[in-house]
Subunit: 111 residues, 2 copies
Amino acid sequence: MDKVNIRQVLVSVTEHWSQTIIGEANGQVFKVAKGIGETKWHKHDDQDELFILYKGHLTIQLRDRNIELYEDDMFIVPKGVEHCPKAEHEVEFLIVGLNVTSNAHGGKPNL
Amino acid sequence: MDKVNIRQVLVSVTEHWSQTIIGEANGQVFKVAKGIGETKWHKHDDQDELFILYKGHLTIQLRDRNIELYEDDMFIVPKGVEHCPKAEHEVEFLIVGLNVTSNAHGGKPNL
């Protein structure tokens, strides 16, 4: 494979809460996405989901607390844990998991 | 777990080519490290190794070409592929794989 510049790929992303695959290693899929507003509450029973923020302020709402992520913050939502990402302004992030989760089951909102 | 700020953790890293674990998800270990100079030529028969640059310019020497990485560049060294990272000035990076590889088998130089 060739190298990929994460911020350059993010420039080309136009749809919110839609993941673009940038690489795969050891069965993990590395994806980038933009978001604004919030997804639906959801959980992944098959995988942990790891976020790294590249731009903006993303709140990962959990049932018992909120995680406030800013640039270069990393957070792992463990498998089976309900969550709902929310952003007042557009955010850009890297997301790592077993497959693409930006679908109805993965909480993608009706845009 | 709590959130982790990748750049803040990197500030506390003092030894070159020594990985600090910052998280684990789906059996993958997320680590940060600093480097300067070069490691020894090595390969990992059990795992792909993914790099994301946070600071500086890192050359991943492969046997048939060099990969030049700058900030926010991502590159995956496939399992079994010989490589030798090299940096003229200090670099900071995230590295993802199955375990800590900053040891003699993983090419760590004699400092």
